[in-house]
Amino acid sequence: MISKFMPKKLFVAAAGAVMLSVPAAAEVSAETAYVFNTLLFLVGGFLVMWMAAGFAMLEAGLVRSKNVGEICLKNISLFGVACIMYLLMGYNVMYNGVDGGYIGTFLPWSADDAAATAAEGATFDANYAAASDFFFQVVFVATAASVVSGTVAERIKLFPFLIFTVVLTGVIYPIQGAWQWGGGWLSEMGFVDFAGSTIVHSCGGWAALIGAIILGPRIGKFTEDGKVRPMPGSSMPLATLGTFILWVGWFGFNGSSQLALGSAVDAVAISNVYLNTNMAACGGLIAAMLVTKLVYKKVDLSMVLNGALAGLVSITAGPDTPTPLIATLIGAVGGVLVVFAVPAIDKLKIDDTVGAISVHLICGIWGTMAVPLTNADASFVTQLIGVASIGAFVSLTSAIAWFALKATVGIRLSAEEEELGSDLAELGLEAYPEFGRGSQKLSF
């Protein structure tokens, strides 16, 4: 009998003893492993899907109230677009027949689970249900697109942004993804990116950077005498909530990127990934807090939130190999980076509304380059090749897409619409109709 009042630790040891006395098969059966793996994808999938809400809340908190409705709309609709495009072609461009090359096939995805569900002689080599894999992969695509929406917020037009999302999620992301996760040339070379510091976060970050440059800064962001005029976000608690949501979702993002839960070895690996992911976020936020306090005398909450995310992005390329303390440090470096990257990008007169370039691009690079520190299978040179080639590819293709949109439908709200706010201009409603609109004008 298992008595519940035993202390946690001891009780478990006791239960262990009980377990051992059972003369059971020690191994995990093939079908059980199949179920475990599928479950890992499903749980990981809903956690990463939940990150879409995190981006929405983070960005809604960091834009001014006259643009909050539109940023909510963008975040939910880009998720829809991403899922549909990945289904229509993205998945197969990324995974279907890449074979050491550069690109898969432009075909819609469909499931093939015949082997595992055969009435007789079922085999479980596929290791997981096809749709569970697709579901897990598709939520990653949306993450890359979410990065972009934050940077270009408050001045971009809605539909041109969504068209860019179509291109990003249907073509750009899958192609560079194919190079690594699809088994393309980068993976053959030995590039390491466990859950996507480069493939997801930097990819989104490059697209955002190019977009911000082509789009130009918000009106009034940089004064004539070259100073930065801050435009404080409308709701710190929403930004905090968004950060927490992203943090939780990241356990799915990194943890389920182990891709298998069917053995003790996998269970151990995933546990380490969870813990390292958590510690890197802690390291990032504490570092950002201390540095802002030192540099600015006050602790900037928006920076601390960015710091936590910076930690998470930084660990994403290699959450499996460091010890928890090293993971904390990797995250902490990310947190420091972000505190200095945000004003540096401002100095370049690039207007990144929510700091996404600093968080996802800069820390995505840092995280990728940090992998060889704890992973003997990775080399700095290969990591650098991966970062640079994906950076070049995404920047170039994004630039083409942004310029094409600019030249045709136009990507930017008119000055009048921007002044009025994208909510009234494009949605015809207000995000907070009862909370004293117009007040933001008094802040300066």
Binding site: R229, P230, P232, P343, L442, F444
Partner: protein, 112 residues
């Protein structure tokens, strides 16, 4: 009659209301406003960029009074709103031609 407009620090509102009640003034209208004057605004910081918020939160009090009480009212406000620190605010007195109580239609003194 007089129309008294006073700009005061928000946390002095309660004492001022009490002081006015003591001299028999039981009606007033209050608005949240932003003041600009000698008192410098708060330095705020956001994402690595410092900036000054020029306007400071103040409360605007509007009180209509009989000519007789007006002086007393001004004094009461000045004394109670006073903290001695910069930004304490100002009192403005204007002439008031006519007052109507909407509920009863009464006018002038009777309406106050």
């Amino acid at each position: 009659m007089k129309y008294i407009i006073a700009i005061i620090k928000p946390h002095r509102l309660d004492p001022v209301r009490d002081a006015l009640a003591q001299i028999g003034i039981n009606g007033m209208t209050v608005t949240e406003v932003q003041g600009y004057g000698r008192q410098r605004g708060q330095k705020e910081i956001y994402r690595g960029a410092e900036y000054e918020v020029h306007f400071l939160p103040k409360v605007k009090l509007e009180v209509a009074t009989d000519d007789a009480v007006a002086e007393q009212a001004v004094e009461a406000i000045q004394q109670t709103a006073h903290t001695g620190q910069i930004g304490d605010g100002k009192i403005f007195v204007l002439d008031l031609n006519q007052v109507v109580r909407i509920r009863t239609g009464e006018t002038d003194a009777a309406a106050l």
